[in-house]
């Protein structure tokens, strides 16, 4: 079976972003970009399913600017077979991405579509669920364990209070949580090999999709600053402060 994996190029998770002084957004010029951490887990899971003989092909896709090809190369180096870039310079919101992914998964006839649970830039946590809704197929979000057998996916999900397990008929959409797996490091030989793999580039227009943003960002601001705290000398001083100054205990 074929697995489609969606990845996103985002500001590296270690970067502390700064809000632009005109409040139009965050400053991402000259900032290190990487693959969204949850998407790395998604690619890893797909490649493991291929290594286990369950999947026959892993196709990785992304939507965005030309530089997203770097992100696709990383996924190819992890072990994806080929890649598709839907090139667009405009802002892409989750609904637009879900529509793009719908068109691609129908074209590719993917049985399993794996996404990260959320992107660490917009923190939306929507695209996978939206895609499942548009395709009218079942979804398993926040997956920490995936078993594919007998034309069915059995997925353990991280929910509030613990874990829950559900079974889905295929095709299905799965979104990854942090504990699903530990993504492998890409090795130099695999990076070299990845350069030979193909990246198809298509335009949203070719897919016949309206990608206009639905939400308008009016402004982006710094969160309120916390007032500077104090360092206490010892436990006694700490207890005294909590009791008499902060009055929280």
């Amino acid at each position: 079976m074929k697995i489609l994996v969606a990845v996103k190029r985002v500001v590296d998770y270690n970067v502390k972003v700064r809000v632009k002084s005109d409040n139009s957004g965050v400053d991402i010029a000259n900032v290190k970009m990487s693959m969204n951490p949850f998407d790395e887990i998604a690619v890893e899971e797909a490649v493991r399913l291929k290594e286990a003989g369950i999947a026959t092909e892993v196709v990785v896709v992304t939507a965005g600017v030309t530089q997203c090809q770097e992100t696709l190369r990383t996924a190819l180096a992890i072990g994806a077979d080929r890649a598709i870039l839907v090139e667009a310079d405009t802002e892409l919101q989750p609904l637009a991405v879900a529509k793009i992914l719908k068109a691609l998964s129908e074209k590719e006839q993917a049985q399993i579509i794996i996404l990260g649970k959320q992107a660490i830039d917009d923190d939306s946590n929507q695209t996978g669920q939206m895609l499942a809704g548009l395709l009218d197929i079942p979804q398993a979000t926040f997956a920490s364990k995936v078993v594919i057998a007998d034309g069915k996916a059995t997925v353990t999900r991280e929910v509030d209070g613990g874990l829950e397990t559900i079974a889905l008929s295929l095709p299905a959409v799965i979104t990854t949580d942090l504990r699903l797996n530990e993504p492998r490091y890409v090795t130099l030989p695999n990076i070299m090999k990845a350069k030979k793999k193909t990246i198809d580039i298509v335009k949203p227009e070719d897919l016949g999709i309206d990608i206009a943003p639905r939400l308008k960002t009016l402004k982006v601001e710094e969160p309120p600053k916390r007032s500077a705290g104090v360092m206490v000398a010892d436990v006694t001083a700490l207890v005294e402060k909590l009791k008499n100054e902060a009055k929280v205990i």
Partner: protein, 311 residues
């Protein structure tokens, strides 16, 4: 211009996050209805009818709604969507699971994790792990929203007297099935609703030390237990203890961080706490940048001392 709040429940009891979502809904519209979709959830519907400010409770009972799977639940919400301008759910695992599916079917954008209602169509939400606050405007006819519970004070659980209207479930033959559930047992206050939270990180070194140091301190304070991702990944505690961008978002009166360095992703989950206390031996740890009270000390001596001082 009515609003429908999707209640969070386990068929037995109404979860507290619902009250925060109702609070946000009341800022959008004076006409707020609550949906209780479940299996024999009469007790929940009764509880929902007593929430202050609620106009009507819509109860839908069906076997396949028992486990709140996304597919049947979304189908029920969609069957009612035509009557509402706002569909809201708390931004919990369940709300995050179902609402985007509903939004996509309605062909509208979703507003995730809102922290403030600015006006009828404009909302604030944190992005980049809480390092920026975006003000966004929606032009969609129906606003599908998940509510960050710590952003809104809960409405009163009593004082209301809404009518309960039982509605038949629409057909929603599922392509998914519930298999099982494994919940962490705890007598403590729920993490997201606790007044005080004591959280442990990698600095503890082991699960035994977490039990030995963090748990007694939490007992003394009547606190909920939390953890950093490092502590969860190392297996000290179950993963539903995790506070942060990818775990739970909390805002208690007092947050005590023990052996937690304070990575961006952890701070995203707790920096709206009223008072933050950090105990760490590294004076350079970023957690001290947000702490109201910082103690540079070895946690293995400072934490037992603190527990003792509170006796």
């Amino acid at each position: 211009m009515a609003a429908l709040v999707i209640s969070e429940h386990d068929n037995q009891s109404l979860k507290a996050a619902t009250f925060n979502a109702v609070a946000a809904a009341l800022q959008c519209s004076p006409e707020v209805d609550v949906l209780v979709a479940g299996n024999s959830a009469d007790v929940v519907a009764t509880a929902a009818s007593q929430i202050a400010g609620v106009r009507k409770v819509i109860q839908i009972d069906a076997l396949n709604l028992a486990d709140q799977l996304a597919e049947p639940l979304a189908a029920q919400i969609l069957s009612l969507a035509g009557n509402y301008s706002y569909l809201l759910a708390p931004a919990t695992a369940s709300g995050k699971n179902v609402m985007p599916r509903v939004a996509a079917k309605l062909d509208v954008a979703q507003l995730s994790d809102i922290t403030k209602v600015v006006s009828a169509d404009t909302f604030e939400r944190p992005i980049y792990a809480g390092n920026a606050i975006a003000t966004v405007q929606s032009s969609d006819a129906v606003k599908v929203i998940t509510v960050r519970t710590t952003g809104f004070d809960p409405v009163a659980a009593t004082g209301g007297s809404a009518v309960i209207e039982k509605v038949a479930a629409t057909d929603s033959a599922g392509k998914s099935a519930f298999v099982g559930r494994e919940l962490t047992k705890s007598d403590r206050p729920e993490l997201t609703a606790a007044k005080i939270i004591v959280s442990g990180g990698r600095g503890l070194g082991s699960g035994e030390k977490y039990q030995e140091l963090v748990v007694p301190l939490a007992d003394k304070l009547g606190a909920a237990l939390g953890a950093s991702r490092a502590a969860v990944d190392a297996g000290y505690v179950p993963n539903d203890y995790q506070v942060g961008q990818t775990g739970k978002i909390v805002a208690p009166q007092l947050y005590v961080a023990v052996g937690i360095s304070g990575a961006i992703q952890h701070l995203a989950g707790m920096k709206d706490s009223k008072v933050i206390v950090a105990i760490n031996k590294d004076p350079e740890a970023p957690i001290f940048g947000v702490a109201d009270y910082g103690l540079v000390a070895d946690l293995f001596t400072a934490v037992p001392e603190l527990t003792k001082a509170l006796s």
